[in-house]
Structures are given as structure tokens and as C-alpha cells.
Amino acid sequence: MAEVAAQLYRTVRLIRRFEERAIELVGLGEIVGGIHPYLGEEAIAAGVCAALRDDDFITSTHRGHGHVLAKGADPARMMAELAGRSTGLNQGRGGSMHAADFSLGILGANAIVGANGAIATGAAWAGRHTGTDRVAVSFFGDGAVSQGVLLESFNLASLWKVPVLFVCENNRWATTMPVERSVAGSITGRAAAFGIPAVSVDGMDAEAVFEAAQAAVTRGRAGEGPSFIECHTYRFDAHHTFEHKARLRYRSNEDVAQGRSRDPVEIQGGRIPPEVRSRIDEEIEHQLEEAVKFATSSPKPSPGDPLEFLYASGLRARTGVSNA
């Protein structure tokens, strides 16, 4: 268990520092378009992905850096993707909201809230269809649980006993909308209504998330169908980095202070020996220093062929100029 504790700490710390470094690069103009920081929610990605194998699938969200890193993506290529470089995971074609690494089952982050649940369900179904015991995880926030297509995917998953794990990151704020004003009934009640076993866990505690995810993954691999985990967490930073300039007043100082009072990095850090923690911290600083260097020194894609990859079949689109 000591190894697991250290591994979970490494992941939460990596995500925390990755996001902080990425925010710096947003400020410096190296990352255009900004990011949706995952700060405060690190324990969820770390705990869930620790229960997965490399060949399992995940689908992620606009606030997805943590999921992608926790599933094992290379931080340097991830940072390069955010910076729009041709060395990025998606060769600069996806950016912050679409990072993917299919070699690790990362089927992409999705910028439409609630859209990835059906995709994960289909991928998990296909995994079983082809005779494997792979599972899929769909990550989404509290803002997604009122989207129709997500609820449709709960129904399909439960009907067909699909090995998919729905993970709701309830950070209490959908952009500026508090969960109390957007969710009638309860979040776990939505899953329960479709016959999906649902639990609520402390999303600030990587080990608690890990245990719940392990149980769900075991259930999925055994052919018993989908599971649902609601993780209670808090978004420490902005909905999006544009808020760093446009100060939006939707959360009180008390709300923020209360939300930040439990920090997943500190909680997990307190469970490992200090010398192990400081060694991991140093390694991560070095790793991210290299990642930032790699990203900012990598070439930008050539603008001559902006629609390369549009068609998997290799079809080329007409250009926007007649006879060109």
C-alpha cells in the first residue's frame, strides 16, 4: 500500500504542478486560448486511473489535463499540445480541450459537456464485443448531469451491461452555476434511476477514489455492467483562465476558502514519508522543467496544410480559393 500511496501522490503532484506551469505559459502567451485548470480535483483523475490498465479507455472533458496525465500521457508532449506545437500529442490539432493518446486508450477530451458518456459506453461495449475485458471511464462534471445524451448513455450502459465507469466530478460549480441551482433531485439518484450502482466519495482523497474505482472496474471486468461514482471536490481556480483577467464574482470568499481548505495534494502528501515526498517533488519539478522547454522550443505546425488529418481515409478537402 505504501507504493500505491506514493504513486497516487506522484500523480496528484504532477497534475498540480503541470497545471501551475501551464497557467504560467498562458500568462506568457505561449498557450493561446487559455485552459480550464484542474487544480483541486487532482485526486479524482489519480485515483480512478490508478485502477485502470493501459489498454482501458478513458474519455475526458474540457477540464481534462489531469485525466490525460493520470492515464499516462507524456507531460512534455501534453504541454507541447497545449502550446500548439507539432510535437504535441495531437500534433497541435487539438489543444487543451481535445488532448488524446490512443496508444494509451485516451480517446480524447471533449469540449461539449456531457458528450463523452455515450462515446465511452460505445468503446466499452466494443471492447467486450471483441472478446476483451477492457473497461472505459467517462469523466464529467456536475454540469453534465442534466444533459440528455449523458442520461441516454446511462440507459444504454445499464440495459446492455456495458463495462463503463461514469465518474462525476462534482466541483459544485458549472462555470458560474452552483450545483444547487442546476440539479433537481440528486446526482447519484440519476444513476440509480437507471439501475446503475452509485456511490459518493470524497474526491479530495485519492485513496478513497482509488478504492471506489477498483470496485467498479472489478465489477465491469466481471461482466456485471456499469458503475457510477460521484466525487465531491472543489475547483480551486477559475472556470477558465480568462477569469484571471475578467474577475467574475460568483463565488464568495468564504465559499472559496471553505472549498480550498482540504487540498488533495496535502492529503495524499501527508500519507507518505517526507523524504519520499520531497524526492518525488524534485523529480516532478525536473520533469516539468523539461516539458516546458520541450514545448516552447518545439516547432509550430506549417500553416500550408491546415486541414491535414481531416479525413482518416486521406481524402483532401478543396481549398477555399477557386482553381487553387
Partner: protein
């Protein structure tokens, strides 16, 4: 020689591909029984794991198919009603279509969407009678509108084998077309290649889907007066511009008959491209649905919104006489 109906051609193409490739599976509403008369027999042949009757959750099962495709399957979806494509536009245009580019070429989404009975089905009124193929061409989704049974067969086979999403419109007005054909002669028809159904030297009539039969009929009617060449693009996107250019090089005159609403319909694109890039002896014309058409219920009103033979005859004569 067997007489192949258009509907049987659809079912035969899907069945042959399922036989050939175990990754092909079929999803849709009431397909087990075969309410749309495309899929009878497939459930008995391939079983419920490959012929999947879905609940009425079009958005859910459309993205479910995307996920299954990302995980290696080649799903075929049947929609019972053409207007359902509006409901799943996000899932096709904004999800399935975008994965290849957004992931920098990591992903392919080989899903085939079939709409048997697209366009007006007399008496089905406003929400069952749309023909939105131009909408898919506009966003760059491969879009096919076969006019004959053997083309329907061959284009579906190619669509299923294609690595990109493909939408196939099987017009209601074409479902009654029959063709004498040896089954052994049925073969794949490549996407993006048009077909000259009748050669002519005076006017090129481009006809889409079921309107090919109308174009052939008026070509007969006008024979002796005007030599009409009937060009069927078969695939709306990508369009066979070279095939069209070859026809116009002969005739120098162009008429399009297109069951789209007028503004931004494929007819508009054909006229624009011909005007920009081809030598025309007279201004090109098009016969379409009116702008913004919502098909009214009463038969007279429904028919008044659809392009017809009389209009095509008039316009073809005018184009033939103009510009000399």
C-alpha cells in the same frame, strides 16, 4: 436475371459486409423486425450482438457508435426518419466527423449512417419529410445519395469500408426503383465518382438521388429537340467535379435538379463551382425546394414544394435557348 429492388439492395449490401467483416455491426430502432424493410433477416443471420435494436435514444446510440468505432468496430446505423438527422447533427458533425483532425490523425470513425426513405414520404408532413443532405456536405461529412439499386449496393459497401463517417440518403422516391442485375455483378462503387446515365451534347442536367429518374424521363421527352446529358453525382460530398467538368466541356450548359432547400443547397454549390471554374455558354439554372421549406401535410402543398419534371423541362428549354 434477378430483379433487384432498391430496398433489397440496401439490405443485401449490409448483410454481405457483415458476412465479410466481423467488425461490422448494425444499430437502430426496430431493425430486428425490420420496420423500414431494410434489415429483415439480419438478426437471424448475425444475432443480437451484431444486430442491435436500440431504445429511442438517437443521440445516445449515435455517439455510442462513435465510441465503438474508436475501439475498432465498423457500426452501421439506420435512422427511420430523415429529420432525426437534425437531432444527431451534434453527434455526427461535431463529434464523429471531427475526431480525425482533432486527434492529429490518431482516430478514425468508420460509421455508416443510413436513412431509408429520405425526403418527402407523401403524407408524412413537416417532421418526417426533410432531405438534409446538403447540410452534411456543408460541414464536410461524406454524403451519398444513390439513385439506383446497384449504386445503392455499391455505395453502401464502399461507405462501410471507408475509414470516415458516411451518411447515406436513400430517397423515398427511389425506393421503388428496380433493376435487372446479376447478383454476382454487384460491386463496390467508389465514393466521389459520378455517373453519366445518359449521354447528350446540348445541356448537362445534374440530378440528385430519386430525381435522376425524372431527369431521364425529361431527357426522353425532349429527345429530338434537346440532347440532354444526365449526370448523377451519386456522392454529394466529396463531389465529382472532374466528372461534371467533363460533361460541361461537351455541353456548355448546366441545369441542376436538387431536392434541397434553395439557400446553400448542393445545387447552389454546383452552380457556383461551374460558374467559377468551367466554361458555360449560358447562365446555369437550378430547380430546388423553396427557401426554408417545411413540407406541408396536404398532398397538393407537399408536391408544390418539391422540384418536378415540368419545372425541369421549362428550365432546361430556357437554358438551351439562352446565351446563343
Amino acid at each position: 436475371m434477378p430483379r433487384l429492388s432498391y430496398l433489397k439492395a440496401l439490405g443485401r449490401a449490409i448483410g454481405d459486409e457483415m458476412e465479410r467483416d466481423p467488425t461490422v455491426c448494425m444499430l437502430g430502432e426496430d431493425i430486428g423486425v425490420g420496420v423500414a424493410n431494410v434489415t429483415p433477416g439480419l438478426l437471424a443471420r448475425f444475432g443480437p450482438d451484431r444486430v442491435v435494436d436500440t431504445p429511442i435514444s438517437e443521440q445516445g446510440f449515435t455517439s455510442f457508435a462513435t465510441g465503438a468505432a474508436l475501439a475498432g468496430l465498423r457500426p452501421v446505423i439506420e435512422y427511420q426518419i430523415p429529420s432525426l438527422l437534425f437531432l444527431v447533427f451534434e453527434q455526427i458533425a461535431n463529434q464523429a466527423h471531427k475526431f480525425s483532425l482533432m486527434t492529429g490523425g490518431q482516430a478514425k470513425v468508420p460509421v455508416t449512417y443510413i436513412v431509408p426513405g429520405s425526403g418527402s414520404r407523401t403524407g408524412w408532413a413537416g417532421q418526417h419529410s426533410d432531405h438534409p443532405y446538403s447540410l452534411f456536405a456543408h460541414v464536410g461529412v461524406k454524403t451519398v445519395v444513390p439513385a439506383t439499386p446497384s449504386d445503392a449496393y455499391g455505395l453502401i459497401v464502399s461507405a462501410i469500408r471507408d475509414d470516415d463517417p458516411v451518411v447515406i440518403f436513400a430517397p423515398s422516391g427511389a425506393l421503388g426503383v428496380r433493376e435487372d442485375v446479376e447478383y454476382a455483378d454487384l460491386k463496390p462503387v467508389p465514393l466521389g465518382v459520378g455517373r453519366v446515365h445518359r449521354e447528350g451534347t446540348d445541356v448537362t442536367v445534374v440530378a440528385v438521388g430519386h430525381l435522376v429518374q425524372d431527369a431521364l424521363a425529361i431527357a426522353d421527352e425532349l429527345a429530338g429537340e434537346i440532347s440532354v446529358e444526365v449526370f448523377d453525382p451519386r456522392t454529394i460530398y466529396p463531389f465529382d467535379w472532374a466528372g461534371l467538368a467533363a460533361s460541361i466541356a461537351k455541353t456548355g450548359r448546366l441545369v441542376v435538379i436538387d431536392d434541397s432547400n434553395r439557400t446553400c443547397g448542393i445545387g447552389a454549390e454546383i452552380l457556383a463551382t461551374a460558374a467559377e471554374e468551367m466554361r458555360l455558354a449560358a447562365p446555369p439554372r437550378r430547380v430546388t425546394r423553396p427557401d426554408g421549406a417545411v413540407l406541408p401535410f396536404a398532398l397538393e402543398l407537399d408536391l408544390a414544394c418539391q422540384p418536378n419534371r415540368d419545372q425541369l423541362v421549362t428550365v432546361t428549354r430556357e437554358v438551351f435557348k439562352s446565351g446563343r
